[in-house]
Subunit: 277 residues, 2 copies
């Protein structure tokens, strides 16, 4: 496994890699969710490239960029164990030098869900993913269903900007008790960790009701809301029942939907979702 | 020379091309200016790709997209004669299908000069060039100095978005009497064609004065303005003396500058420039 920082070094190493090249962009502090993406890339592709970069432009000024957990040495050890070929760890100065002024923006899909509550987030995401795609030139790229809207937005960007890159979206990886894996779970104390279980439990309860025939969007949302409200430490930002591709909020009877949420547990903002179909 | 329309056909043909690959994006109705770019690419690169696409998103609703001159068969004959390897002629429906919603935007550089008078123009340019770059994946791309601001904006986009593509800017090609080559020159009647000479004559007069030691930005602009004002058929939109890379307007004494202009001759909007240094 080679590790590079400078883009010039990345380009040199990239040229040596046999295709198809699979790419997993990450913000580091890797967990089993990231590793499931790496394993999918390893299974599908001749070469696997991983980037580690906590992208500042997808954090708002009041968000947790400064405290976002980092452990590059541990990340490298984990990636080495997965037989990754090339790891790119650029610095903020490399990615956003003085005078930087170019943005990639997906317009409509980013107005909903996370985008409604984090208005500058997706511009940061699509810009950095575009930058990483341009430098790495992968054949396939791997994203997690945990960030459901991100996956939909990236697919739209790839289609609109003619990237010849296949986007693979891999299932959410959860802790044994159901909590969706997230680098931010490390922020939770014991009581918060317990309260955070209400997110997946609420979603699973709604999924169970959907399987038993419940189809009313408001009723599905209410099951989730009611379960989370049992926890004093949890504060709902939104619970949404949306069209899985258009991301527009649904009402009345639904055939398929993305049931998703953002909830604060203490100061920690957690997201989770289930796809019902 | 192969000609393709669908992106899938382009990708297949692209894979067969030996590198380095040179790319010349055009809007068609080719003239000696375009062909000078093709020749530069042919000189530098193992393979040459040309695209022909009159990009609707860089025209404002009141601009001349509908009447923009087209002659694909003549274009293909000209490109064949230059030993081009691959010509991509996508349709509008391919490039902007229903639901298209992703834009590439360069912020600061596009506020000046052309961008000040055509506020949506450069977003269209950078978006289509980004799309073409992603599909063609060239090693080198060729642009004309005629669109001086475009060249500066594309270079910024390439730097900011990590495209591993060298941008080559080639000199303006002029008619024997000095008029800068442009597909839009075909709009001019005989009297307008004569009046249009004032653009290059004004710029050359200022260049002569610069060579003789004149360094005052306002005086340089005035030479151009005064010459163009001699023509009743010409109406100035702007005459600018700007920093060649930052594109900010200059005043007082200048070492180097981009002297540029946009002038209406009848309904035809013409641009031209000289770099003074």
């Amino acid at each position: 496994m080679k590790t590079v920082a400078a883009e010039s070094a990345l380009l040199t190493e990239r040229e040596q890699l046999p295709g198809p090249v699979g790419f997993v962009p990450t913000m580091g502090y890797l967990h089993e969710g990231h590793l499931s993406l790496v394993r999918a890339a390893r299974r599908d592709c001749a070469s696997v490239v991983v980037s580690i970069f906590a992208n500042p432009t997808q954090f708002a000024p009041d968000e947790d960029l400064a405290t976002y957990p980092r452990d590059i040495e541990r990340d490298k050890t984990l990636l080495q164990a997965e037989n990754v070929d090339l790891v790119w760890i650029p610095t903020e100065e490399m990615m956003y030098p003085a005078g930087f002024q170019t943005w990639v923006t997906v317009e409509n899909l980013t107005k909903h869900l996370e985008g409604a509550h984090r208005p500058t987030h997706f511009q940061g995401v699509t810009t950095i993913v575009s930058k990483l795609f341009n430098a790495v030139r992968p054949d396939r790229a791997y994203f997690g269903q945990k960030d459901a809207q991100q996956a939909v937005v990236i697919k739209q960007m790839v289609r609109d900007l003619n990237y010849p890159i296949h986007i693979e979206v891999c299932p959410i990886v959860r802790e044994p008790d159901g909590l969706a894996m997230s680098s931010r779970n490390t922020y939770l104390d014991q009581g918060q960790r317990q309260a955070a279980l209400s997110l997946s439990r609420g979603l699973f309860k709604a999924r169970e009701a959907f399987r038993e025939g419940l189809r009313d969007a408001e009723a599905l949302r209410s099951i989730v809301v009611d379960r989370i409200k049992e926890e004093d430490l949890a504060e709902i930002e939104y619970v949404s029942c949306a069209h899985p591709e258009k991301l527009t909020e649904l009402s009345g009877e639904v055939d398929r939907c993305l049931l998703s949420l953002a909830v604060y547990v203490g100061d920690t903002r957690l997201i989770d979702n289930v796809l019902l179909e």
